[in-house]
């Protein structure tokens, strides 16, 4: 039974890491209705920029601020050259644009900082400690704490600040928001910058875990089922979705994998997500779209 709980807890903590990436998607989708496929590339770009600056002797916090500034510049560029020219286009057009954008950002990251793999130490040990016979990782608990903090900060940002309310207004009804004087370009830059910040945090945690390398951009594949299960518009949903995906894939790999063959944890969350799509298409916390037909 101890082993079961160990797998479960390990899965829940891994799920938090998926949630970190998923939150970036939610931010942009919530504020602009765009499914930003480039979020993974942004995670890579942010982590690679950070670690490259760090290796050049720049102090840790200055690296963080400089990388954040770079992500804001990137957001400005995306608004200017991608989103503005495509304003009022269909969601699928914007999705395709972000798909292309992901390749551009990946290429840009490697062009600027090279293709080398980098190690990243955040000063948090990943050695296990044992509680009730269960191995727990300090690093995973730290990541969970960061994710929880992000959820609280972003919830306050969206619900209690003027800018946050503007973002929600644009998401609810773009034309009505424009009519009351909300400037769409400004909103887009802010939301992409915040997504860049989340990407940076996710990139640092994932980078410390797996090394800063190209495969960071592939972690979007882990975030997709999280979004489907939790809902595309809910930050809390991203957390709950992450926990469900993390726990279920680990338990499936250990207990189901031994019966039907190993290596199932990549596709198992998608099967689960498919089930959710059939039963609850908007996800657990997503907003139900009601349209007049």
């Amino acid at each position: 039974m101890n082993f079961f709980f160990e797998v479960l807890v390990g899965g829940l903590l891994a799920g938090v890491m998926y949630s970190l990436v998923a939150i970036g998607f939610v931010l942009i989708y919530k504020a602009s209705g765009v499914f930003n496929f480039a979020q993974g590339a942004m995670v890579l770009f942010a982590a690679l920029t950070f670690v490259s600056l760090l290796e050049r002797g720049v102090p840790f916090w200055l690296c963080f601020l400089m990388t954040l500034a770079v992500m804001i510049v990137l957001a400005l560029g995306i608004e200017r050259w991608v989103l503005a020219p495509l304003a009022n286009r269909s969601p699928i057009t914007l999705f395709m644009a972000t798909l292309g954008l992901s390749y551009v950002i990946e290429g840009l990251a490697q062009l600027l900082w090279g293709a080398q793999v980098h190690g990243l130490e955040l000063g948090i040990k990943d050695e296990p400690f044992i509680i009730g016979g269960i191995f727990l990782s300090q690093f995973d608990l730290f990541a969970a704490g960061i994710a929880l903090s992000l959820v609280i900060i972003l919830s306050i940002f969206f619900n209690k600040t003027q800018i946050g309310l503007s973002l929600r207004a644009v998401a609810d009804d773009t034309l009505a928001a424009l009519a009351v004087g909300i400037r769409l370009p400004k909103v887009w830059v802010i939301v992409w910058s915040v997504a860049g910040f989340v990407g940076l945090v996710a990139g640092l945690l994932w980078g410390a875990r797996v090394g800063v390398q190209f495969s960071l951009s592939l972690i979007v594949l882990k975030a997709l089922p999280v979004l489907i299960i939790g809902g595309f518009t809910s930050i809390e949903g991203a957390i709950v979705g992450g926990l469900i995906v993390g726990a279920s894939e680990k338990l499936a790999e250990v207990y189901l994998g031994s019966v039907i063959g190993g290596g199932i944890e990549n596709w198992f969350p998608y099967v689960l997500a498919l089930g959710f799509l059939l039963i609850r298409p908007a996800g657990l916390f997503g907003e139900q779209a009601i349209e007049r037909v």
């Binding site: 296990p128 090394g211 190209f214 592939l218 250990v254 290596g263 990549n266 596709w267």
Partner: protein, 444 residues
Amino acid sequence: MQQRFKTLSALAAAVISSTLTVNTAQAGSNEQYFPLQSYRIGPYAAGGTGFFGGFIDYLQNVNAKGGVNGVKLTWSECETEYIVEKGVECYERLKTGLNGAPAAATNPLSVGIAYATLERSTNDKLPLITINHGRTDSTDGSVFPYVFPLQLNPYSEVSAIINYIAQQAGGLDKLKGKKIVTLYHGSPYGQETNPIIDLLAKKYGFESTTIEVPHPGNEQQSQWLNIRRIQPDWVILRGWGVMNPVALKTAQKTGFPVDHIIGNIWSNSEEDAAPAGDAAKGFISITTHPSGTAFPVLQEIKKTVVDAGTTNLSDPKRFGTVYYNLGVVNGILNVEAVRLAQEKFGKTPLTGEQVQWGFEHLNIDDARLKDLGAEGLLQKLKLSCSDHEGGGAVRFQQWDGTQWKVISDWVQADRALLRPIIEESAQKYAKEKGITPRDCSKEL
């Protein structure tokens, strides 16, 4: 500033080369051409830039000394991004040579691309070099005349690892009752050795468990919890790319001793260990080509290429790393094949068919290793019509937190045990494809 410019230039060239072929040397009729299906962008760029950097630097070094008997070497790159379709497209684009310089051999450094171009290489009579990787049964040159898994095929690799574990235990008879887990990448490459480890388990009486890590392997919690439940004596890590540092980190997280993990040939670079930080300290892996710059051939390259500012590496700090040195070793073997073939066919640029003869007659003994300045960098190698691997030995190295240290002498695979399995598989392939195997006893 100059370094930064070089980095940007190299990467820009790599991006452009995804649609264009970039000629990096003067072409001409008295030149031997090497078509390079390289990858400098994408998820495996770290390996590609190191390997092709070493390969090209060695070719430059040979040219600096006048070429191979006066025949200069030329090359061009085509970016594959490690994608099979692009690799095939590059093969087709480059196979006919360059401005009259005939192609010597292809070296895609990719199992997928190698599989996809295997039949084409045979039909085009152009050697396909899969150093330390590729299809194991292509060791049997009677069925695969144009394919060369030089130095080490996957079966030899796992056999040598088991022999090393036996050495640590005090002999092969001491393997009985031991538990060995193989953690493998979820791909044909990763699965290739599973039947052999099972076979060795039966022969020596150890308990074998194989556990798959789905690609790309950036999450391995459940696999390592399973390993902890099994409590093996050793874990063989058959990884690739990000899977390697994640395995080491997760092993630490679940309390498995990292000095009882043995990485295979694609888990043995600085890029595999360093990103794991302290978790990698003590990690053991096999190697056919240790890192380091003290080898005379490396010193020569340093003098003629690196110090001259013409190294292909965008970051010269990578000089002497594992991937770079593998590229140098690959360069040595390719050039030696050309040199040998020239002795038979004349000191002029040769066709792929002629270079194939050179590969098949490679005989790198101690004296030749000394001449090449590659003692300790490269193992003795003798190829033949029936044996396209030639070596089958590895050394073991251990990560000390910053670099690899070699900790063993050459450990030989049990090639006699593996040979019937290789032949059986090759014969099956021949039957499927309607190939009549060559009679190697008649080949000179």
